[in-house]
């Protein structure tokens, strides 16, 4: 199996085998991260621009570390210190960056689909670090790697996902990826946060209650309640949300005894998850972050090769 894409924009665009390849490469990349000299010369001489139109600590840092561990030169650009605030269009920014000959642009942008737009404009590889409510493929991949670490497989697992599905790019990437790998996804959340037709996105069941979703689940993925996204109309307040859709030591017992609990971060402790669960022994949240670097190394590595396709 070879990876023949120049860009990684959405897990929707990738086949099962391509996703397996990205995950298996990431598994073996972890060895680099575990030793004293955490660096390999693979992407020596390559330039990676991290273009983040939305603030991010975890993802940007993770991509930066991933690039550096592969010996690429990484440059971070955030809109607050770039031309974006001066009214420059995304296309112009990209063309100007392109003139400096980067090999990969890793972008996070608030507008869904903006990476496809960018990809038509520039010749270098594009990696999506999150676009609007569309996808967040590196998060989807690292979630799958983390699940595979525990169960040794992804097929036949019951994965519950709870929260604001409508606004979640993590949910879409997880649904796309996990469906392709053979998992079953059970969604729960207030109906105001459940987008129409979501059950058609993959092997998805929309549940009426949190209990129905979590019952006997192998994996419970809690999504962040983003107060800035939900506005005023989707729920009364975080107190009531937490009461019906928060994960706590009591309701986590509905899942299988060895179920793993995950969260893409950053966590609102006491809202979508109680601290007892966040820091409990079923939590794999930090493992997710750790796997994030390896997954992103794998993505950077493979798009560089994919760019060689004639």
């Amino acid at each position: 199996m070879e990876f023949k894409h120049k860009d990684i924009i959405a897990l929707r665009d990738l086949g099962k085998e391509e996703i397996e390849l990205l995950i298996s490469t990431a598994e073996n990349m972890r060895e680099v991260n575990s030793r004293d000299i955490k660096k390999v010369p693979t992407l020596r001489g390559k330039t990676i621009i991290n273009l983040f139109y939305e603030s991010s600590t975890r993802t940007r840092t993770s991509f930066e570390i991933a690039g550096k561990r592969l010996s690429a030169d990484t440059v971070n650009i955030a809109p607050s210190n770039s031309s974006a605030t001066k009214g420059e269009t995304l296309a112009d920014t990209a063309m100007n960056l392109l003139a400096m000959k980067p090999d990969i642009i890793v972008m996070r942008h608030a507008v869904s689909g903006s990476h496809y737009f960018l990809s038509k404009k520039v010749g270098c590889s594009i990696i999506n670090a999150g676009d609007g409510a569309h996808e967040h493929p590196s998060q989807g991949l690292l979630d799958m790697l983390t699940i595979k670490d525990k169960f040794g497989r992804l097929d036949g697992l019951k994965v519950a996902m709870v929260g604001d599905i409508t606004h979640s790019r993590v949910a879409r990437s997880d649904i796309q990826g996990l469906t392709k790998m053979g998992s079953s996804i059970y969604l729960a959340g207030p109906p105001t946060m459940m987008p129409p037709g979501v059950e058609r996105l993959g092997n998805v069941t929309v549940c009426n209650t949190m209990k129905e979703a979590i019952q006997d689940a192998d994996v419970v993925i809690m999504l962040r309640i983003q107060q800035e996204r939900q506005g005023k109309t989707l729920m009364p307040n975080t107190r009531e949300y937490s009461r019906y859709f928060g994960l706590n030591p009591e309701n986590v017992k509905w899942a299988k005894p060895d179920a793993m609990v995950m969260h893409p971060g950053p966590i609102n402790r006491g809202v979508e998850m109680s601290s007892y669960v966040v820091d409990g022994n079923q939590s794999h949240i930090l493992k997710q972050v750790e796997n994030g670097v390896a997954v992103r190394m794998s993505m950077l590595y493979h798009v560089c090769g994919g760019g060689n396709v004639e």
Binding site: G113, H134, T166
Partner: protein, 425 residues
């Protein structure tokens, strides 16, 4: 200038004509329709064999962008696109800069169209001053200066009290109110139809009910005050049902739809295609079916294009940033002819929706080939194949979702007041 249009299939619903006939035009008026007519002195002869000869098509909903936004379109380029699409008259919406909310702007448009335009241009004035939605525009003077309707098209009149008064006031003057029916709170920051496609693409959705509620409000207000209302660009199943029920009750409601609403679904947005972004947004298959049913049973009176030219810079951007709207003048005819081919409408029914009805609703004194009528005539080649390309479009803007596609059917000749202003692509 005199004309003899020979041997075409003449379809004039105003006289119940559908036959192979000749049409004689003299001094800008229709002189006679009949078999084997002789050419008047100095007449140009148009061989219309195998073509349709119909009352000049009227697009009652276009954006000419003039004055103020001439980088998108102006009266010259817009009317050039119109005649290339077979239209002899267009009604231009008032969301120009400044808006058509006073006599001076209306007169400017009428005069510029008369001196430089290719076809008739009938301006539509605003409902409210500056389209700000607080005070009624000077509808009396707008009508006097030549406006044929009022509309705040592009946005709804949010305030129901103001809309009620607008309907009453306009009825008193005898000018049609065209409603852009949209409930803005429900639209929110939506950029496409809310449904499976918006879920998959992660784009904010505009629920269909945002249009349905507004359509219902307009109808209830019109019914309450006993005034007529015309609903622009109907796109949803719900709106069609609400209008159908209202018509059955005797409410004076009429409406139009646009070719994209009976041709495309929100699947066209896939790939984040900004040329499939418009407002109201492209809907789903059951809406398309309902629009077609509404056209067939007469619920939908007219086909208008909502021709909305935008500069490349306003479309070649991220999806959320892109402006709403597509150019439609040049693709309307072939797309509408498909309805005839599908057996949904008869040719006379199509001509009614694209000429007679709009003329009647807005009192344009057109839409007929009766002797003595203004000789606005469209000669249509139903078999003409052509490809939509940036170069093939006369409009200044190229924001069409059909770029690269082959169309069947085109204007073979467009005649305005007896003058041939377009003679085939």
């Amino acid at each position: 200038m005199n004309l003899l249009i020979k041997g075409g299939r003449v379809i004039d619903p105003s006289q119940g004509i559908d036959d192979t006939l000749d049409v004689v035009v003299e001094n800008g008026l229709v002189k006679e329709i009949g078999k084997g007519l002789a050419a008047p002195g100095g007449a140009e002869i148009i061989d219309a064999t195998g073509k349709y000869v119909v009352p000049g098509l009227i697009d009652m909903h276009v954006h000419l962008r003039d004055p103020g936004l001439e980088y998108k379109e102006d009266i010259i380029s817009g009317t050039k696109a119109a005649v290339a699409g077979g239209f002899t008259s267009v009604c231009c919406m008032p969301n120009t800069k400044p808006a058509i909310d006073n006599k001076a702007i209306a007169s400017y448009i009428i005069n510029k169209a008369k001196s430089d335009g290719f076809c008739n241009v009938f301006p539509v004035g605003t409902i409210t001053q500056g389209m700000h939605g607080d005070r009624l525009a000077e509808m009396g003077e707008l009508k006097e200066s030549g406006c044929v309707a009022v509309s705040d098209d592009g946005k709804p009149v949010k305030n129901s009290e103001l809309m009620r008064r607008a309907l009453q006031y306009a009825a008193g003057i005898g000018i049609m109110v065209i409603s852009h029916a949209e409930e803005l709170e429900l639209v929110g920051e939506g950029v496409m139809n809310e449904g499976f496609t918006s879920t998959e693409l992660g784009l904010k959705g505009i629920p269909r009910v945002a249009e349905d509620i507004a359509t219902a409000r307009e109808i209830m207000l019109a019914e309450y005050v006993g005034a007529p209302i015309h609903i622009a660009h109907v796109s949803t199943k719900g709106s069609v049902r609400i209008i159908r029920e209202a018509k059955a009750r005797g409410v004076k409601v009429t409406c139009e739809t646009a070719p994209h609403y009976f041709t495309l679904t929100d699947d066209a947005v896939r790939g984040y295609n900004t040329n499939a972004k418009m407002n109201p947004p492209l809907r789903e298959a059951d809406d398309v079916a309902a629009i077609k049913a509404g056209l067939k049973d007469g619920t939908i009176d007219c086909i208008a294009t909502d021709h909305a030219p935008h500069h490349l810079d306003e479309k070649d951007v991220e999806f959320n940033e892109a402006m709403n709207g597509i150019v439609g003048l040049e693709t309307s005819l072939p797309l509408s002819l498909k309805l005839v081919e599908e057996g949904l409408l008869t040719l006379p029914q199509l001509v009614e929706k694209m000429s007679c009805k709009p003329s009647e609703l807005l009192d344009l004194v057109r839409g007929s080939l009766k002797a003595g009528c203004v000789a606005d005539i469209s000669v249509i080649d139903p078999a003409k194949q052509w490809t939509v390309t940036e170069a093939s479009l006369a409009s200044k803007s190229k924001n069409s979702p059909w770029l690269g596609e082959t169309m069947v059917g085109a204007a073979a000749a467009t005649i305005v007041a007896g003058k041939v202003v377009f003679s085939g692509r």
